[in-house]
């Protein structure tokens, strides 16, 4: 990333940090983490399991809401405020602008998630738990999910209005976490008529379950780091594809 894209990333970071909406979403995420203890109290036992499960799910939703509410409207805000003209009429290219926006947003979103993660870690330690490799793997998975969701939000933001981009990002999240169902629907010879179609869809549709390690944090099972690594590669390939699409769409736009 060159100097101009870095400058755009820093400006995006500063702008997003000042956004009150971001604060609201972060309060929601941290609130989910803290509230998870109340759900733990309602359980017969397994308090720490409830704390970890609901906190990590809350953080996944935090990543989604950040992408939907801050990321999807990011390009539209630049156009609305006319700052995009100032930037593009100077030396920055549209590719640099998209890349800068992407990196800036990912920094902010990661900061929010790491903040929520730190609260979760403290919360787990406060209630007598420990921070192990499964929790770290789940956090890494969430950070990777944030990367691809930010790319989706930017791609859709370059393509359409912020509201539609938000809904599209939400749909991507649901599809990404529901793709595994396609494989289960045809497992053990079930639905043979649709097996071929499902198989193609399973390969083609995005699959966020590749980096979803939040379900195994309390099972005591060892972390499959190799799968997480391959999942990271998979997510980065989707991110590259979406960013390339965002650049193409943004280049075609007439201001």
């Amino acid at each position: 990333m060159n100097r101009r894209a870095t400058a755009i990333a820093l400006a995006t970071f500063r702008e997003a940090v000042r956004d009150k909406l971001l604060l609201l979403v972060v309060v929601f995420g941290v609130g989910m983490v803290l509230f998870s203890r109340v759900l733990g109290w309602l359980s017969v036992e397994d308090e720490l399991k409830m704390v970890q499960d609901f906190s990590l799910s809350g953080m996944s939703l935090l990543a989604l809401f950040l992408a939907m509410l801050v990321g999807a409207g990011s390009l539209a805000r630049e156009v609305e405020r006319h700052t995009v003209y100032t930037v593009l009429t100077r030396t920055a290219t549209r590719t640099e602008f998209i890349l800068g926006k992407f990196v800036g947003l990912v920094w902010v979103f990661w900061l929010c998630l790491l903040g929520a993660g730190a609260v979760l870690a403290l919360w787990v330690l406060t209630w007598g738990g420990s921070i192990g490799a499964p929790l770290v793997a789940a956090m890494i998975g969430l950070l990777l999910e944030t990367v691809v969701l930010t790319a989706v939000a930017l791609f859709l933001g370059a393509l359409s209005a912020p509201a539609i981009a938000s809904v599209g990002t939400f749909a991507f999240y649901l599809v990404g976490h529901g793709t595994e169902a396609l494989r289960e629907l045809t497992a053990q010879g079930r639905s043979p008529d649709f097996a071929a179609v499902y198989s193609v869809l399973y390969r083609v549709l995005p699959n966020l379950e590749n980096v979803n390690f939040i379900n195994a944090t309390t099972s005591g099972r060892p972390v499959d780091w190799e799968s997480l690594g391959l999942g990271a590669l998979y997510v980065l390939l989707w991110t590259a594809a979406l960013l390339a699409g965002a650049v193409v769409m943004f280049r075609r736009r007439q201001f």
Partner: protein, 339 residues
């Protein structure tokens, strides 16, 4: 306005009854496990938690329709354990509820067996053992013991459980007791003997104590059998040993540390010795906790006081005859001659 509120209050009495009657069979919908898996959108563990939390208050409710309740219960356990196959509480609490409250021992056993099968698959896949897998096996053995009165199945599952390194001593001793009843003395002795070279010194010490106790139990059984056969108590240890019917090698091992008192009571000096050592270790651990909480070491008398002592209450019987415990300034407990 007052009239309207008063009329509403009067109406509420009847409405409340109607509400309660409606709730009696108002089962909450429990999604099919495949639907739940798809609609969890990757948050399977959290959805399992949410469904479990939603079901918990209903476990205490009264239901008129038993068949409907069974369907609901099976649905809840099915979906929760499918979404999170490692949800130990759902298996454990679920099987207890099914067996004790709903009188469905077979369903309880089926639930535990499902959990065991899932843990076995995980263990085969991961190449390691999980403590919850052991606990479920013990729960299953206890379910067969308490609810089905199936001694053979209990022994079968306990035998599998004690082969696992994280099996507790209480469970081991239950199997030892069953094996002694069946006169499988060598096998009973082997359950403690196999832990004598365990890497953990505390496990080794407990195994040695249990081994001596098993020997003493065999000797006492032999004594009872002798009395039943002969119509009198054995006059001496040698007479008991000669007429015990045990294999000579086994008899030598069993009677190696056994003594007979003047009133014919059998004791084991080695077991007493190991029990005192074990008691002293427990006292030292309790003393450490006491000091952390109170800033000073406890007195020996404190260990024998029930009031205010939730850590370790000893009986006077735990003191060896003619001796007493003392605790030094560093929290070490020892036995000295009584003055």
């Amino acid at each position: 306005m007052v009239g309207a509120v008063a009329a509403a209050a009067v109406l509420q009495g009847g409405l409340g009854e109607a509400n309660a009657a409606r709730r009696r069979n108002d089962f909450r919908y429990t999604p099919d496990r495949e639907v739940a898996r798809v609609l969890s959108f990757g948050h399977r563990s959290s959805l399992a938690d949410a469904l479990w939390l939603r079901a918990l208050p209903d476990f205490a409710r009264e239901f008129d329709d038993r068949a409907l309740k069974e369907r609901w219960l099976n649905g809840v356990f099915d979906v929760v354990t499918d979404l999170d196959p490692t949800f130990y509480t759902a298996y454990s609490y679920g099987s207890t509820y099914l067996a004790l409250i709903n009188k469905q021992a077979d369903s309880a056993i089926a639930l535990l067996e499902r959990g065991i099968a899932r843990y076995q698959a995980m263990e085969a896949e991961d190449g390691r053992r999980y403590a919850a897998g052991t606990r479920l096996r013990i729960d299953l053995a206890m379910a067969y013991w308490m609810h089905k009165r199936d001694r053979a199945a209990t022994i079968r599952h306990l035998e599998i459980a004690v082969e696992r390194p994280d099996c507790d001593f209480l469970t081991r001793n239950m199997l030892v007791g069953l094996k002694l009843e069946d006169r499988d003395d060598l096998i009973a002795l082997s359950y403690s003997a196999q832990l004598l070279d365990h890497q953990n010194p505390q496990v080794r010490a407990k195994a040695a104590e249990d081994l001596e106790y098993t020997k003493l139990r065999i000797a006492r059984r032999v004594q009872r059998e002798f009395a039943a056969e002969q119509g009198r108590d054995a006059a001496s240890l040698d007479e008991l040993r000669a007429g015990c019917g045990l294999e000579p090698e086994l008899a030598a091992m069993v009677f190696e540390t056994v003594e007979m008192s003047a009133d014919g009571k059998l004791t084991s000096w080695r077991h007493d010795e190991l029990r005192v050592q074990s008691t002293m270790r427990s006292m030292e651990v309790a003393a450490q906790i006491y000091r952390r909480d109170n800033g000073r070491w406890p007195t020996i008398d404190w260990f024998f006081e029930g009031a205010g002592n939730s850590l370790l209450v000893l009986r006077r019987l735990d003191i060896p005859q003619g001796k007493r415990f003392v605790i030094d300034d560093e929290g070490r407990v020892s036995v000295v001659e009584d003055e």
